[in-house]
Amino acid sequence: MNAIHHETDLLKLYEQLLLIRAYENAIVNGSAAGRMPGTCTSVGQEAAAVGAINALRAEDLILTNHRSAGHLLARGADPGRMLAEVMGRRDGYCKGRSGSLHISVKALGVVLTTTIVGGELSLAPGVALAQRMHNRPGIVACFFGDGAACEGSFHESLNLAALWNLPVLYICENNQWQAFVHRREAMSREQVTDWGAGYGIPVSSVDGNDVGAVLDATRQAAAQVRESGRPALLEVLTYRTRGHLEPDDQGYVDKAELAAWLARDPIALCRDRLLAKGRITDSEAAALAARVDARIAAAVAFAEASPYPSVEELTLDVYA
């Protein structure tokens, strides 16, 4: 695991990893019990989200997709309002209209979340163009999957951002799956960086299950974007250890591959490091987990108490 820069506390990252896992588990359990809709969980990919988001600045803007819980929580979104959104309730970040798949929180700089896979890639250059023309300092971090990288928008977006010198940090979370299709059945190359190299921009990849490594790699790529005003591509190699969308029995998943990645669970890796470094004890870890669980339990309660929007809201906000 790479060096964590002193200003960021690994313990803080660990807590975020735990929070995301607890949040996703609440949905797994809630949906299994029929109390919530299923979602595309980020279980197994927590380090990718936490490492990348923590490398960004408050002024930076984030575009994400259907598998966004990690990005939102790491950015400081309230799990209660997120769960309310998942459940289609009035207190959701999008008034219950988004559901889990397109949660945006403009106040946190999480803008234009889309579940059209590849849509985030189409929108990112324009967001960056507005940043630049308004002389605003933040860069634009665009999170997308290996699946999105197969859409034509990947090519169009990278070409335009490179051509127009737009400050977009493309962060591809390559989790080896595109819904029910393995990356190998969809990509002519092993990695998205193989394609990205053609655009004349800095490309790099990183072990996505090592939160410190992701943090460092993202910092470095973000610094390149900030300094050059040009795009960069970072590929975060990780694995979707639960199914595509809850519930999913993963009957189609190669058991050995799954086992290999489960053995490198990002949360376990981080905890082991904290324990090894003496930054936390077993009992402190347990207490932290309990605190996180309590926070999520409160969030669930908040969301469940939130009412459904009224039918009059059906046609509000369609037009500005």
């Binding site: 219950g96 559901g99 397109h102 059945e185 189609y252």
Partner: protein, 322 residues
């Protein structure tokens, strides 16, 4: 008669047609995973998963069809057809005509549509009218597993590109499907209930809402006729006009946005060609001009329900007696 879900009826149609004709192939984002039994029977070359890229999936279907195959391309959800519009509309729909008839495009583009899953407007957008408006395409949307099977088999055998829409709200509802060869010609509506007072014209899940409404109406002494269009293109104009002329009162019902929806076309047809038989205004019930929200109660509220249909029909029949 065996009972199948619409999802399984589609699987049965695919299997039967692939067995019958070696040119039938199927591909899409996950079809080989989700219908793995087809891979087992027909092999990994005829049933394939694809990259996540609707444009090239549809384009490959178009190119393969011109080359003599009969591809079925699964494009998942109707809003994703946005990424395949060029291939479906500009290529599949136009290149036969524009080439002076040199090519034909026997392909089926499958997509799920409609409410029932609560996942919001980027998965739920009923765009069948776009394809009805576009020349050279056929458009089908069944309301029962049996129709799905019979229409899909006919669509696969059709020499034209067919956009075949599956109402997601009906996908896992079981229904009786006759044994043996079942072929339902495209372009034939099905009068699922005969009646004399009011015509309810619909397709997809709202056919079932019409059936429920008809029961209520019957209790009020109103005898509703229900026409299930099944094919939106070709449209069975004769069946629509015959029913409108017979009852003189028409309620058109679908889930898609009313504005420029298929219901507009039907109302316009009737207002032009059965005008003299009309005893009351033509009513359209459809979705609002708004994206479909994920929130379950709001999503349900976008779909015309039996109550609203019965109310509309009753109002037309009152108008008669006034």
């Amino acid at each position: 008669m065996p009972t199948l879900t619409l999802h399984d009826a589609v699987g049965a149609a695919l299997a039967e047609e692939m067995r019958r004709d070696g040119n039938v192939i199927a591909f899409g984002e996950g079809i080989a995973t989700k219908r793995h039994e087809l891979v087992t029977e027909f092999g990994a070359l005829r049933v394939r998963n694809t990259p996540l890229a609707e444009g090239i999936i549809a384009g490959t279907a178009v190119g393969a069809a011109a080359g003599g195959l009969r591809p079925v391309a699964d494009l998942l959800f109707a809003p994703f057809l946005c990424y395949a519009m060029d291939e479906l509309v500009n290529s599949a729909g136009k290149l036969r005509y524009m080439s002076g008839g040199q090519f034909s495009f026997p392909l089926v583009a499958l997509a799920m549509t409609g409410a029932g899953w609560g996942v919001g407007a980027q998965h739920n957008h009923n765009v069948e009218a776009w394809f009805v408006h576009s020349p050279g395409l056929k458009v089908v949307m069944p309301s029962t597993p049996a129709d799905a099977k019979g229409l899909l088999k006919a669509a696969i055998r059709d020499d034209n590109p067919v956009v075949f829409l599956l109402d997601i709200g009906l996908l896992y509802q079981p229904g009786a499907v006759p044994d043996g060869e079942l072929l339902i010609p495209l372009g034939q509506a099905h009068t699922v209930r005969h009646g004399k007072d009011v015509s309810l014209i619909s397709y997809g899940k709202t056919v079932h809402h019409c059936l429920k409404a008809a029961e209520t109406l019957a209790a009020d002494g109103i005898d509703a006729e229900i026409v299930d269009l099944r094919s939106l293109k070709p449209l069975d104009e004769a069946a629509i006009l015959a029913s409108a002329r017979k009852t003189g009162r028409v309620v058109i019902v679908h889930e898609a946005n009313r504005r420029c929806g298929v219901g507009a076309e039907i109302a316009a047809l009737i207002a032009e060609q059965a005008f003299n038989s009309l005893k009351a205004p033509i009513r359209r019930l459809g979705g609002p001009d708004a994206p479909v929200p994920a929130s379950y109660p709001l999503e349900q509220a976008t779909v015309p329900q039996a109550d609203a249909i019965a109310t509309a029909a009753r109002a037309l029949c009152r108008q008669l007696h006034a």
